[in-house]
């Protein structure tokens, strides 16, 4: 009797051969070698019979694991599959590694360079790499950035006045948002962290949508259940944002796998900060995407700060991009995040690789978080105003695109002033409308926990309704729509 496979699965030698080698298909190993069973005793590892006993010794004394025989038999059912498998295996085979008799401690040597094609004066150093968008498209890109800035300024102040509970600005990262979003297809699924508002705006998420969510009113698609900035929209294919950092990364690998499974010509892009990349879920996602070969674009916004923690306290290696090629075997690019064309070109190429090769890509966009982390943060407590101003003045992504447009004669200061004034009005109007709007019905407190209300939830909902009837004056019922409570 021999132990094979999992826990306590006892089979005879003949059964092993029948089950794993000759069952239904012809199987040849090493030019018709004969087998003998390695009669070692199963070791108990993690409560499971160790695979060390599950091997077959061929006549040339090469040990072949039963699992690998099983795999080979499986994939040899189709010739093309079999070849594919061999090729993949070769890529990972340790025997392909070069040998050396020199003992060398490997250290970080070369850093991955930053791809950048447009400077602060709007000059594109490599004109053949300018995507050459039309005046209309570039104007839309620029005005979306300005609108985002204007909205951020107003809503930041509005939060300070207590009219919304929380807000996060995107200052300094506008080119990342618009440049990457423009390179995607509307059917590509987006997972985001929380500082990607411009991506959503490019896709058609308008100021009203944003303000309604921040005001938690009944026009918020999320029914007012989450904090401001936690957007989600079926219409723009944005999976709803959640606060726990990096959880969206392995999820994005799963959605991409589903897209691949269903034969879609689309990909999933997932945005995250360099701080989030320290979470275990980053490792999980990168490794799953690489090994399962999913069309996922990992888009890291490296803005040098995770709240008060500078990136030098976040990692010691070559940033996030450095982890891609050697760490996970993933195609990787590092770009200037303040250069919209560099971001656009990188994302476009990443999308091409993801969709056509069905492989993941990592992009690290280098930028700087010009604003505070959030409305609950005062960043002057941990960094200097000089540092912020340096980035604002010399590496400003909005200014860079503006310079580009000025050079083309597509924009001028009058238009700028008028557009900012118009944007301010748009945001203020949206805010006024959103604040007047009722909050969602109180009954929505209980829906969507499950697909249907459970008996328990029906009971708890009734308890609340009875309670509110008793104390109707103590709760702000008039702010909520469709309130069925009788005062």
């Amino acid at each position: 009797m021999y132990k094979v496979g999992g826990l306590l699965n006892r089979v005879t030698k003949n059964e092993i051969i029948k089950r794993y080698i000759s069952s239904g298909t012809t199987f040849k190993v090493q030019n018709g070698n004969t087998f003998k069973i390695n009669n070692s005793r199963g070791l108990l590892v993690n409560g499971v019979c160790s695979s060390s006993s599950n091997s077959i010794i061929t006549s040339n004394n090469k040990s072949i694991s039963i699992e690998s025989l099983y795999n080979q038999r499986h994939f040899s059912s189709s010739k093309s599959q079999s070849k594919k498998r061999e090729q993949d295996d070769d890529d990972e085979d340790n025997s392909k590694l070069k040998k050396t008799d020199k003992l060398v401690v490997q250290e970080l040597k070369e850093l991955i360079p930053v791809y950048s094609i447009m400077n602060q004066d709007g000059i594109v150093s490599q004109p053949d790499q300018d995507p050459n968008f039309s005046k209309e498209v570039v104007t839309k890109m620029y005005t979306t950035m300005v609108l985002l800035n204007t909205m951020d300024s107003i809503l930041y102040d509005v939060q300070r006045q207590g009219r919304i509970s929380f807000y996060m600005t995107s200052f300094g990262e506008e080119a990342i948002h618009i440049g990457s979003a423009a390179a995607l297809d509307m059917n590509d699924t987006i997972f985001a962290q929380y500082r990607e508002t411009g991506v959503f705006m490019w896709r058609g998420f308008n100021v009203d949508d944003i303000v309604n969510q921040c005001c938690s009113n009944d026009l918020d698609g999320g029914k007012g259940r989450q904090m401001p900035m936690h957007f989600g929209s079926k219409r723009i294919n944005l999976q709803t944002i959640s606060s726990p950092l990096t959880t969206q990364l392995p999820q994005a690998v799963g959605t991409a796998y589903a897209q691949k499974l269903m034969g879609e010509k689309n990909c999933t892009i997932v945005y995250f900060g360099e701080g989030a990349a320290s979470e275990g879920d980053f490792h999980a996602a990168m490794n799953f995407a690489a090994t399962l070969s999913t069309p996922t674009i990992f888009f890291c916004r490296n803005n040098k700060w995770a709240i008060s923690t500078p990136s030098k306290e976040q990692y010691k290696g070559d940033g996030i991009a450095g982890r891609g090629p050697n760490g996970y075997g993933m195609k990787t690019m590092r770009v200037d995040g303040n250069d919209i064309w560099a971001v656009y070109n990188a994302t476009k190429l990443a999308r091409q690789i993801a969709v056509e090769e069905q492989k993941p890509v990592l992009i690290e966009a280098m930028t700087y978080r010009v604003g505070h982390h959030s409305t609950s943060d005062d960043s002057s407590r941990y960094r200097t105003i000089e540092e912020i101003n340096h980035w604002k003045e010399n590496q400003n992504p909005v200014q860079r695109l503006k310079s580009y447009m000025l050079r083309k004669g597509w924009w001028d200061e009058d238009r700028e002033k008028a557009f900012i004034a118009e944007s301010r009005q748009t945001v203020r109007d949206a805010l006024n409308r959103a604040e007047k709007q009722k909050k969602p019905p109180i009954s929505e407190l209980f829906t969507d926990v499950y697909d249907k209300l459970t008996p328990n939830l029906v009971e708890q909902q009734n308890e609340l309704l009875d309670h509110l009837k008793l104390y109707a004056d103590e709760y702000p019922l008039d702010q909520f729509s469709n309130s069925t409570i009788n005062k």
């Binding site: 999992g6 409560g47 499986h74 997972f191 999320g222 936690h230 989600g232 999820q251 799963g254 697909d451």
Partner: protein, 371 residues
């Protein structure tokens, strides 16, 4: 196809017709093994003798066959799984639908959530329930809240996590745990524990097709020891419904999973030695649990004992006990008894003393009746 034909009303006691083998350790005083009253599936069609892992394999086979978007994945599932639950599935459905993942539970869980959110049907395996904790954040903060936080725009309801749980005789700290309470405490999740091969298949198919994330705990002690005639067709057993395994009038006894056989043995002892009539209930679904069936039984018997392998403090018995006390106060004739694991990690050499075995349960029944 028998899909959806099973109703809890169709339960019949079929003692000695379809037997459910009890292992020798459950024999009392050298008597013959106690038969577990099997569940009768209406219009079952062709039957086949299966143990628990085979019935689970059969359920996944049907799920993969009937849903082209269904995938089975996890650590070592490709070659058939360390408990053989996924054997032959990769051969039948291809390596793109039945595949190994890297060794990373948070990755498995996150990946499953994403697949489900994009409209596929992930059936993910966590190799042992003891190793589900690295995925706790993904399951509790993400899977459970996915629909709610999006206002119903998105959901990951098509996902199922399967995981072997419970005592196995020698599993020590990390191959024995019963973590159902951690997840029962999380709104948005369903938690299911089967107790027989027939139930495992029907409950697993219902879990896979349920539009909510489900954690399906498989009693690994029973993977091979539980054998019965299982219908080979497609059928589901509804979630959220307990099963009255055996009717009685003096005391209600509630358990789930592999504890059901321990409880049946205690019930037999109580009936033989003390002449007590016990009503035995298999809760089957931990969350949302069947309050109605349990409370109706307690209103009839006036007494309640709940037993689980997991530690007592914060265990699911506390939830049941408190709820029954709230709803059946006037019917209760004795304090509710909880016979559980002790508030210690699950020990290796002391397992026999740790587990809430039939003797501990018998004593608790006696105490409750004599109160």
């Amino acid at each position: 196809m028998l899909k959806n034909l099973v109703l809890s009303k169709s339960i019949k006691l079929t003692l000695n017709v379809r037997y459910f083998h009890s292992s020798t350790k459950l024999k009392s005083g050298g008597a013959s093994p106690i038969s577990y009253p099997s569940l009768e599936i209406e219009n079952a069609g062709e039957l086949q003798k299966m143990n628990l892992f085979q019935s689970i394999n059969n359920a996944m086979d049907i799920a993969l066959k009937s849903d082209p978007k269904a995938c089975v994945f996890g650590e070592d599932v490709g070659f058939g799984g360390v408990f053989r639950a996924t054997v032959d599935l990769r051969d039948k459905y291809g390596a793109h639908r039945v595949f190994n993942t890297p060794l990373c539970e948070q990755g498995i869980a996150g990946f499953a959530i994403g697949m489900a959110a994009q409209g596929a049907t992930p059936i993910a395996e966590i190799q042992f329930a003891d190793y589900i904790f690295p995925a706790f954040d993904q399951i509790v903060n993400e899977a459970a809240k996915y629909r709610y936080r999006s206002g119903g725009q998105f959901n990951c309801g098509s996902l199922t996590f399967r995981t072997p749980y419970g005592a196995v005789g020698h599993g020590g700290h990390y191959h024995s745990q019963s973590p159902e309470s951690y997840f029962g405490h999380t709104p948005g999740l369903k938690v299911v524990v089967p107790s027989t091969p027939i139930e495992a298949k029907g409950l697993l198919l219902a879990s896979i097709r349920d539009q909510n994330p489900v954690i399906f705990f498989e009693p690994k002690l029973m993977y091979r020891s539980a054998v019965e005639e299982v219908p080979i067709g497609d059928y589901e057993i509804p979630l959220g419904k307990a099963r009255v395994v055996k009717e009685g009038s003096d005391i209600t006894i509630v358990g789930w999973g592999s504890q059901m056989r321990v409880l049946l043995q205690a019930v037999h002892m109580a009936e033989e030695k003390l002449g007590i009539s016990c009503e035995l209930i298999d809760l089957r679904t931990i969350q949302p649990w069947d309050v109605e069936t349990v409370c109706n039984s307690v209103k009839k018997t006036g007494r309640l004992l709940i037993s689980h392998e997991a530690p007592k403090t914060g265990g699911w018995a506390a939830e049941i006990s408190s709820t029954v006390q709230e709803r059946c106060f006037l019917s209760l004739e004795a304090p509710i008894q909880r016979v559980c694991g002790y508030d210690t990690p699950f020990p290796l050499i002391f397992e026999k003393f740790y587990v809430p075995d039939h003797l501990k349960n018998f004593e608790a029944i006696k105490k409750t009746i004599q109160y």
